[in-house]
Amino acid sequence: MKLLKPSWVSHEKRSLFCVDIHPDGTRFATGGQGQDRTGTIALWNMAPVESERAERDSSVPRQLCRMDDHLGCVNCLRWSASGRHLASGGDDKLVMVWQHSKTGGSAPFGSRQVAVEGWRAVATLRGHDGDVIDLAWSPQDAFLATCSVDNLVLVWDAARWGDIVARLKGHTGLVKGVDWDPIGKYLCSQSDDRTLRVWRTADWAPETEVTEPFRQTGGTTAVLRCSWSPDGKYIVSAHAMNNGGPTALIIDRGDWTADMDFVGHKKAITCARFSSAMLQRPGEGRRAPYCACALGSRDHGVSVWLTCRKRPLVVVHELFDDSVMDLSWHPGRRLLIACSKDGTVAAMSFTVEELGEAMSTDERTALREKLYGRAALLSRRPGQQAAPQLIESPLLLSVREQAEKQSPRPAAPPGQGISQPPRQPAAGEPAPPGTPSGGGARKQIECRTPDGKRRITPMFVSSQEVTPDLASRFSGSEELPFTSSTGAAATVEVERLDTVVTPQVSESRSQLSAAPAVEATPPPPAAVAAPEAASIAVKRRASTDLRVASKRIHTSPPPAPPPAPPPAVSATYTASGAIVAPLAAAGRLTAVLPAAGPELPELQLEAEHGGAAGLHVLTCRQGTEFRWRTVLSSPAVALRCCEERCLAWTADGSLICLSRAGRLLLPPLAMPGPVARVAARGRHVLVVTCAAEVSTWDVRAAAARVRREPAAQLLRGGARLTGCTLTEDGRPVLVVSTGRAYLYSETMAGWQLVTDGRAPGAALSEVQPQLPAAPASGQALAVLMAQVRRLRPAAPAAAPALAAAADPQLAADAAAAFLDSQVAAAVALGSPGEYSLWLAALFRQLASCGDEPRLRDLCERLLGPAHSGASLSASPTAELGLDGRTLLKEVGKEYWTLLKELLPLLVSHLSLQRLYTEIKDQLDCVELADSI
């Protein structure tokens, strides 16, 4: 055995808490304390440890990378079995997952550290409430288990970072060590509560609890890294006691008994680590496999044991000046690295004669199969059937083939036992919204905030690139990363805009922004780049209005509502009994009456008051040409155009309806109360009074539709009315600041919730179908959703969504519930296009989790009663699904064509094949009947 203490492996003498060798053996990682109580991870080249020549060669890099992102001491780090990821956990309660990055070395700015490689955090896992002490990857990298002083073991889904697969509760003390069974059936964890627990991965329930040998132990160690032997037969625990002496307990997999232990260390054993290699004696006749286990202790020593021998292979006393914290075996080269709290590492290399020969991976797999059977070795994922399902009908086979050809998207057929590789960002992934795409846009955009400060939209250089696979091998000659430098010319071009924007700074926390409180947070200034628009009054508004205003000028618009009325101030008005702030008379109002044929050109209307003679004047122009003018009895508070009519609401509470030529069509109509909001669409106008009563009129028929319908109940609990619109057929829709939109149903005489931005499923973005970026007029639901989203740009129902994500089944149910509500809302809003869109999304969601009963119900609803097996006595006309069918008929689409489009989605889940065949048969019948 050779022993080496490479002095250059050091975090500036600060304590090292963990070490792990990369599976390909080219590098190793150390973690520990950083400057100012932060955490540091360093990656090191293995070559100078293994070879003296490489150590002397100054062109061979030693430290490859330094990651200073942890805000607390790094207690644990482990490479995934694939070597693609490094997971680290620290005192900052975070677990970070690192991946090699193309963008080269990136030493922290301003530090003198050299970086040969770039590693980037691809995921930050927040879930623990305390220091993360140990972590371990599951055998096929499907999961990551982490344990913490919050007494929990969390199991994370490595295919979807952030998803917690299981929370293993049971320990009553700090959990300080965790490891997986190499077969993937169990997980073990050791805690300060003097137990070692074994958990089943099938249902994440406790399997057993070993307590007796730990009874006399005290919580004296920083870590308790237990380890599972590579053949799966034994767990070796950290600190246990036997007859008053510290030992490492050997727990037998068969019945979880512990009759043996490794004895000899003088103080508590902090860490045990098996080599992942199964070993054999070279050149012997009968080559019984065995394993090597290393133990590190608080007595500063390390011992190495072979399971085939009763005595230790080697014991090194006083290897360090402080407690041993972690151990790691080189997979191929019989090398062990230990690290210590004293800030140093030690490498021990063994000869073949001492340690034995490693079995090949195939031999090892064969051995495990012999011990545990083939099926046990398949990786298990939750929600997967243990046994693969058979395809029962040849029809299904062809459809599946077709489906796979058409789109590579459908998830791999489940039940195949292949662990999914972690998701990589696709190469052609679109740039994040609001960023200039590609080259060409090497410029920053500068605007001014209302208080004169500049606001810069930076030039987007690159998204965070990570390489899917580790770059072959680093060369020592790679150029060093940047330091701060002096440059001659700027590489960024500056584009200055005269537009005024509001910086996105939260008012509550910062006094810096003096911008007026605008109701909706302005959208990203991608929109700000709009050309200068109409009047100063408009320009000083938030950029939302800018966009509206510019649209109004450049396109021939539908009777779109002009700039939103002034923001409502809820608090002041609630006191006086008013629920919604009334409209105040503005200095100038404008509206556009669209052209209606060649003889009826577009007209611009403008209401002004307090003008020359103190009169309130409404002027109509065609282009710059004056057409007519009328005088109003009191100042106008709102001006709208619809149905060839001009509507003006005056401050004295009446509605004046003028013809195209400026003739008064009806006597002024007194409004039911002070007017707070107005809207017009088609032949309908909508008025919301300060008492939150909603009325609508049909101006063509000169008739009332909705009469003083109270909506105050929708604004309870401090909610504000942020918008009101009309559907195409003139039903009122109110948007409330809680992120909800309500549609008034005349038949139900009540408000229906059609959009809920806070629905738990709404935040699960992957369930949403591809929505058009700018909703067209026919997409009533998309328009509402966009409005609601604008209300809550930052936190769309994050809390319930996160809670739901903890349980994938619950998340799937939340998603289905959300999609269900979208389908119902599309029907209520009478939007056939969106009905099919959301129905397809619902279908896909249900199919992906194999929810057969609901899918069957959905299919039967679409097929109709005559074709379903449902009894005819049920009254299907009352069902909402039928409304959807009539809706589809309106656009000339038969309900079964939609079903036909959706049905192939079922084949992705084999458990649904019978449903597929059944519905397909019925559908064929319908189609046949239809063609005759």
């Binding site: 920053q444 810069i456 701060s484 430098s485 002096t486 700074v505 810096l512 209300l791 809390a799």
Partner: protein
């Protein structure tokens, strides 16, 4: 952990006459999209003696910041000479580049700045009243002093979603 890291600061037009603007080309990375703007400041330390003479040369908001690497040029006017003590006009002082998120400063980069006359004669015998128009400013670009501060980045934790309208 910090969601924004400065990866490079390049000083443009350096050295430069005293009355020319400061120009910093800043490259930074955001590991997550930021819902709010970053606020960058250039602060000129007029006198090492006290913070009284510190001048904020300019403040800019930078946003929106999606995830990824970004670059921008931050230029700021020269310091107001009236606010610089006569005895501190020549020699070494400091210029600071700071960045805040939600009104909390999380990084501060300090550079040494040397102000001196270019004319050898003036160098030898500096006039009693500083002649700023004849001075040259040289920022020691190669050794920035970086200080990082731990701040609240506003991670949305379950159960406490921020409730801003």
């Amino acid at each position: 952990m910090a969601k924004v890291h400065i990866t490079n600061v390049s000083l443009l037009d350096n050295p430069a006459p005293y009355f020319s603007p400061f120009k910093f080309e800043i490259t930074f990375e955001a590991i997550e999209p930021l819902p709010e703007d970053l606020e960058w400041k250039i602060i000129y330390v007029g006198s090492a003696e006290s913070e009284e003479h510190d001048q904020v040369l300019d403040t800019v908001f930078v946003g929106p910041v999606p995830e990824g690497r970004h670059m921008f040029v931050f230029d700021a006017p020269h310091p107001d000479t009236a606010r610089i003590p006569v005895q501190d006009a020549l020699g070494v002082t400091v210029v600071l580049l700071t960045c805040s998120y939600r009104a909390q400063e999380f990084v501060r980069v300090g550079y040494y700045v040397n102000n001196d006359y270019t004319d050898p004669e003036l160098k030898e015998n500096p006039p009693e009243m500083p002649q700023f128009d004849k001075m040259q400013r040289n920022i020691l670009a190669s050794s920035p002093r970086v200080t990082r501060f731990k701040i609240e980045w506003g991670d949305v934790k379950p159960g406490q979603a921020s409730d801003r309208p």
